[in-house]
């Protein structure tokens, strides 16, 4: 049993400010600190596992517990831009991200640091793709080492809270003026709930961070400034020399701020967390949560008479080289365990930084071993720490490291378990039903399509396999499958990140019957543009011979048309022969139901809560269909599973246009019972009501001419918007008396868009 060595509870250490114990996770603590500080602005974009921070802040804001303006960006690049612009305007600014989100914003980060605008960002560390893995390692963090941001590392939810409060003080210190990252382990620290002490009164926190210092900003009419002037090398040298000095001073400021914070909280943080290092002969150097887990093993080894210890930094930028030298002076063998690799460098980044620090020791230096472990959130157990110590003991005994650098925890696999094919591969012929005919009508030059009853089409094999991991009642699959019923022959699909991708490709399984590519959330259309052009070029050179061309379909959803809009527009403008198919589930459902731009007005998501201060999403849904139509591509359509014949016909047209003319875009409205908070069985009824209420009109824009393919007014099927909204827990509050005005605004917008569409339908030039 380990009894706390650092005493942190109230009864044991007299603390100056009132605190209370809560049982919360690291993400909750980051949000709590931000709310208590009451930043001006948070620009954010959802990515697991950091998204919860924005969600908790939205929840607290809904309850009126802070005034931070939360801005849902169009991607992380945008979120970093929002933060930069707000910082230049003199605001206190906050952000949070992970993994590829961090990489997507990375070009903005040195700008923030180099132009010296403080802010605080939580990096909830996670494996960088690819292949995609949502769990925790440090591959994202290591990309941040050269951005010029101060980097604090938090090993526990308690440290997340404490460091978030200290971070702002360090960032805004007049000797520093740099942005600060607080990095902690995705899931291990972000999601595990622990007992945490927080300040009872938020004024304690506000007093500690103090008044914001006056730095130059763009909103002082009497002191205009120019931010980001162009420099040549002579000037850039000097700018970066200043920045470098500021970074080293941040190390000193960290110590001052930590001391002041210890007096307030009773919890102290030095640059290095040293556990039983006083007389240690063997030690592990580990970042964040793994260091904590190893302390239990140190206790066990100490009981056996082995002088073991753990060393873990609380700050890695600036790198505490001097402290590391001091702490390791007596150590014989050290293992640096790293949750990321710097491929080909015989050890990842911190290995080399530790080695470099030790090189300045006069006299004998510790033997340094380096191991890559725990990638992609692979768990780190006590016996793993024991294995690390065993390696250090062996090196101490031998006087050298047998294998200085290696991976730890990889498994060779068993030849007998190698993947075996399950079903016979299916090619274009398997999907040629011969039941669908597409002809060009000579009179109108538009397409005329014949499809048989759905019963006859049941003979056509499904494009996707059963056994995928979607939720019960998921609307993605009936939507996609119906669309593909209208597509004959060979396809190559690309799904970018989202539920459809995740649920059909959990390694080593998949639910695809023909070739499939996954690529990053924002980059699907561009990627498939490359694929289709490679096909055409290789076909032209005679390298590929197929009786009929492949149909290339890019599937997006879960907000992919927000972050991926640029890529989609670019693809449409270039006119590649492919189909962009969006399943619209009205939110970032894959990351936990945050609002996307296609979330309708007033709808509740995890970042547009319903409560005292707000009633769901504050702005209208994006009309992606019209935006894509404005790119003047040959065919644009909408569809739902509730109107199967309509959708199959449109798919057949989409295929013809993609193969013969250029880019096609289609949007399917699909039900997400989990996050729409609707009954699993109602999926089809909900999307039918969405159509009949004219929220989601069924239409196509063929060669620039709008054609409403199903008119609820004309068919006498029109229902009130409320008859659609009543099905979903996310929108039922709109039917309450107190939200009458909001509902009215929504109804007017739906009617306005529907009327425009009808005018377009009637006039081929509109």
């Amino acid at each position: 049993m380990n009894v706390q060595i650092k005493e942190t509870t109230e009864e044991q250490v007299p603390v100056m400010a009132a605190q209370q114990a809560v049982f919360e996770s690291g993400n909750e603590m980051a949000a709590m600190a931000a709310a208590q500080i009451n930043y001006h602005i948070m620009g954010y974009f959802p990515i697991t596992p950091s998204t919860e921070i924005a969600q908790y802040l939205d929840m607290m804001r809904t309850r009126g517990e802070h005034d931070i303006k939360l801005i849902p960006a169009d991607g992380e690049h945008g979120s970093a831009g929002i933060c930069y612009g707000a910082a230049a305007a003199g605001a206190r600014v906050f952000n949070a991200t992970s993994a590829n989100g961090f990489l997507y914003m990375i070009e903005q980060l040195p700008v923030q640091a180099g132009t010296r605008f403080p802010m605080v960002m939580n990096l909830v560390t996670r494996a960088v793709s690819g292949p995609l893995d949502i769990r925790g390692d440090h591959s994202d963090l290591y990309y941040g080492l050269n951005t010029g941001w101060v980097i604090l590392t938090a090993r526990s939810p308690q440290a997340v809270y404490d460091m978030n409060i200290m971070a702002l003080r360090i960032a805004e210190h007049e000797d520093v003026r740099l942005p600060v990252i607080v990095a902690y382990d995705g899931f291990f620290t972000s999601h595990q709930k622990r007992r945490v002490q927080i300040f009872t009164d938020r004024d304690t926190v506000r007093d500690f961070v103090g008044e914001q210092p006056e730095f130059p900003h763009v909103l002082d009419e009497n002191k205009p400034i120019v931010v980001g002037a162009y420099m040549n090398g002579e000037d850039l040298m000097n700018n970066h020399f200043q920045q470098s000095n500021a970074m080293y001073r941040a190390g000193e400021v960290f110590k001052e701020v930590a001391e002041e914070y210890a007096a307030l909280s009773g919890r102290s943080y030095s640059p290095l967390d040293l556990y039983r290092m006083e007389d240690a002969e063997v030690a592990l150097f580990l970042l964040n949560s793994a260091a904590e887990s190893s302390k239990d093993v140190v206790d066990r080894l100490r009981a056996q008479g082995i002088k073991a210890g753990v060393i873990s930094p609380n700050i890695i930028r600036p790198f505490p080289a001097k402290e590391i030298r001091e702490a390791l002076a007596g150590v014989k063998a050290l293992l640096v365990g790293e949750r990321a690799d710097s491929y080909g460098a015989e050890g990842a980044n911190l290995t080399h930084e530790v080695k470099a620090a030790l090189q300045e020791i006069r006299g004998p230096q510790p033997i340094v071993l380096s191991r890559i472990f725990g990638l992609g959130g692979k768990d780190f157990y006590a016996d793993d720490a024991e294995a690390f110590f065993a390696l250090t003991l062996e090196a101490m005994e031998l006087g050298y490291a047998k294998v200085p650098f290696d991976y730890y925890g990889q498994t060779p696999g068993n030849e007998a378990q190698k993947l075996q094919p399950v079903i016979a591969p299916m090619n274009g012929d398997s999907f040629k039903s011969g039941l669908i005919t597409v002809k060009v009508d000579e009179a109108t030059s538009k397409l005329s399509v014949k499809v048989p009853p759905m019963r006859a089409l049941a003979a056509k094999p499904k494009r996707f396999a059963s056994g995928h991991g979607a939720c019960p009642g998921c609307g993605i699959f009936p939507g996609l499958e119906l669309f593909f019923k209208g597509i004959e022959g060979n396809v190559v699909t690309l799904f970018h990140t989202g539920c459809a991708y995740i649920t059909t490709t959990g390694y080593p399984y998949n639910s695809h019957k023909q070739s499939f590519i996954h690529n990053l959330f924002q980059n699907g259309p561009a990627t498939l543009s490359g694929t289709v052009e490679a096909f055409l070029e290789r076909k032209r050179r005679g390298e590929i011979e197929v009786p009929e061309d492949f149909t290339f379909v890019m599937v997006t959803g879960d907000g992919g048309m927000d972050i991926g809009m640029g890529s989609a527009i670019g693809t449409a403008l270039r006119g590649h022969n492919l189909i962009i198919l969006e399943y619209d589930n009205e939110g970032y459902m894959n990351t936990g139901a945050q609002l996307s731009y296609s979330t309708p007005l007033g709808h509740m998501t995890s970042t547009s809560g319903v409560g005292k201060q707000q009633q769901g999403k504050p702005f209208h849904h994006k009309d992606t269909v019209q935006m894509m139509a404005a790119a003047h591509i040959p065919y644009v359509f909408t569809g739902t599973e509730a109107f199967p014949q309509d959708l199959v016909k449109k798919a057949a047209k989409a295929q013809w246009y993609a193969q013969n003319v250029g880019t096609v875009y289609g949007k399917l409205l699909i039900t997400c019972p989990l996050n729409w908070k609707s009954d699993d069985k109602e999926g089809e009824n909900i999307v039918r009501a969405a159509v009949n209420s004219c929220f989601f009109p069924l239409y196509e824009v063929e060669q620039g001419q709008t054609n409403i393919t199903y008119d609820p007014d004309g068919k006498n099927k029109r229902v009130a918007l409320g008859d659609w909204l009543k099905y979903m827990g996310k929108s039922r509050h709109l039917l309450k008396e107190e939200n009458k005005e909001l509902l009215g605004e929504f109804e007017r917008e739906v009617e306005r868009r529907w009327s425009i569409l009808k005018a377009k339908h009637e006039n081929p030039l509109l």
């Binding site: 009894v3 899931f187 709930k193 993947l419 075996q420 059963s466």
Partner: protein, 340 residues
């Protein structure tokens, strides 16, 4: 003196909940841990297994309790629990739910079956088996399975105060869904009171711990295709998703079926199985043959879509799905060649 009945070498009393996404084990674990930490003055931690799993996939939730002054530094999943809570019996098929159970440990199962049968299915030779028909309670009270499971878990963790939980239930529902307060309190109390215990006393096995092994990936660095590329397609058909169902499944009456395919176009899991046969005039036509329950998650969209009485919702009875399953047919590849 600790209030915890047992502690491991680090001072922890450990609970592992084995469940399926959507049954509420994550929330149950959180509430259990919170009651211990804020109510009973213990220290504790709680977390779940995380991946990109959706509703309907196997999940685990972990709770560690220790005395207030003990620091929790371990982040790893619980491998040798004192208590295991099994939220759905379908999990046995794919997961060794009692893996690593400590000697004298307790396994709580959501089941309507005979305790001895369950013990045999679990290969349990020692410790205490606790059973609660949480699904029936939840159906009767129109509440959730996890509340009944929590009631039973509080009975097992007798160091926790059930009043703390009753308080939490009241607080959770009072404001937004006041009509659910009483039903949820009843569900919790019924879980607490109706749980049944069976002590397994096999003297030979008494002191032995249930074996545990860390799951290894199917493929390794010598057998993975470089780049994570999969050269095998559609192998998800090997999966069994029947555990995703929460009580109901669609029942098919062929004699009422008009073969319109309305069910087929709305099914998210492609469970509707078809065959081609001659119609009355001798022309080839598609006929609905049945339902492949291996993939059916019980959403009942097909029942909603059916224009006749051919499909109806039915409370799932043991063995019904296995006996009435109409398997999909593909050209399968076997060691002997392609089999259709």
């Amino acid at each position: 003196m600790s209030i915890l009945p047992q502690q491991n070498e680090l001072g922890f009393y450990e609970i592992r909940l084995e469940s399926i996404g959507g049954l509420g084990a994550n929330l149950a674990g959180k509430m259990l841990a919170e009651a211990g930490v804020t109510g009973s003055g213990l220290n504790g931690s709680n977390f779940s297994s995380y991946g990109s799993e959706k509703k309907g996939s196997p999940v685990k939730s972990f709770v560690r309790f220790c005395d207030s002054q003990v620091e929790i530094r371990d982040h790893s999943p619980i491998e040798q629990p004192h208590v295991v809570g099994v939220f759905h019996e379908a999990l046995y098929k794919t997961i060794d739910v009692i893996s690593g159970l400590r000697p004298g440990g307790t396994v709580l199962v959501n089941t309507a079956r005979d305790l001895y049968e369950v013990a045999a299915d679990l290969n349990m030779t020692q410790g205490t088996l606790a059973a609660i028909d949480a699904l029936r309670i939840a159906v009767e009270e129109k509440t959730k399975v996890n509340t009944a499971m929590l009631g039973a878990l509080f009975r097992i963790c007798s160091f926790l105060n059930p009043d703390d939980m009753r308080q939490v239930i009241r607080k959770t529902f009072e404001k937004k869904l006041p009509h659910l307060v009483e039903a949820n309190l009843r569900t919790f109390d019924r879980g607490y009171n109706e749980v049944q215990f069976l002590t397994l006393e096999n003297p030979a096995a008494l002191m032995s711990q249930a074996a545990f092994s860390r799951p290894q990936p199917l493929l390794g660095y010598e057998t993975q295709e470089p780049g994570g590329i999969l050269t095998v397609t559609a192998n998800s058909v090997l999966k069994d998703l029947s555990g995703s169902r929460q009580g109901y499944l669609p029942q098919y009456k062929m004699e009422d079926c008009i073969h319109c395919a309305a069910c087929d176009t709305v099914c998210p899991d492609f469970c509707i199985v078809w065959e081609q046969k001659p119609d009355k005039r001798g022309n080839p036509q598609m006929f609905m043959k049945g339902i492949d329950y291996q993939y059916c998650k019980g959403c009942l969209k097909c029942v909603e879509a059916c224009p006749t009485t051919a499909l109806a919702a039915m409370l799932e009875e043991a063995q019904y799905a296995e006996q009435h399953r109409v398997p999909q047919s593909f050209p399968y590849i076997t060691a002997e060649g392609v089999r259709s």
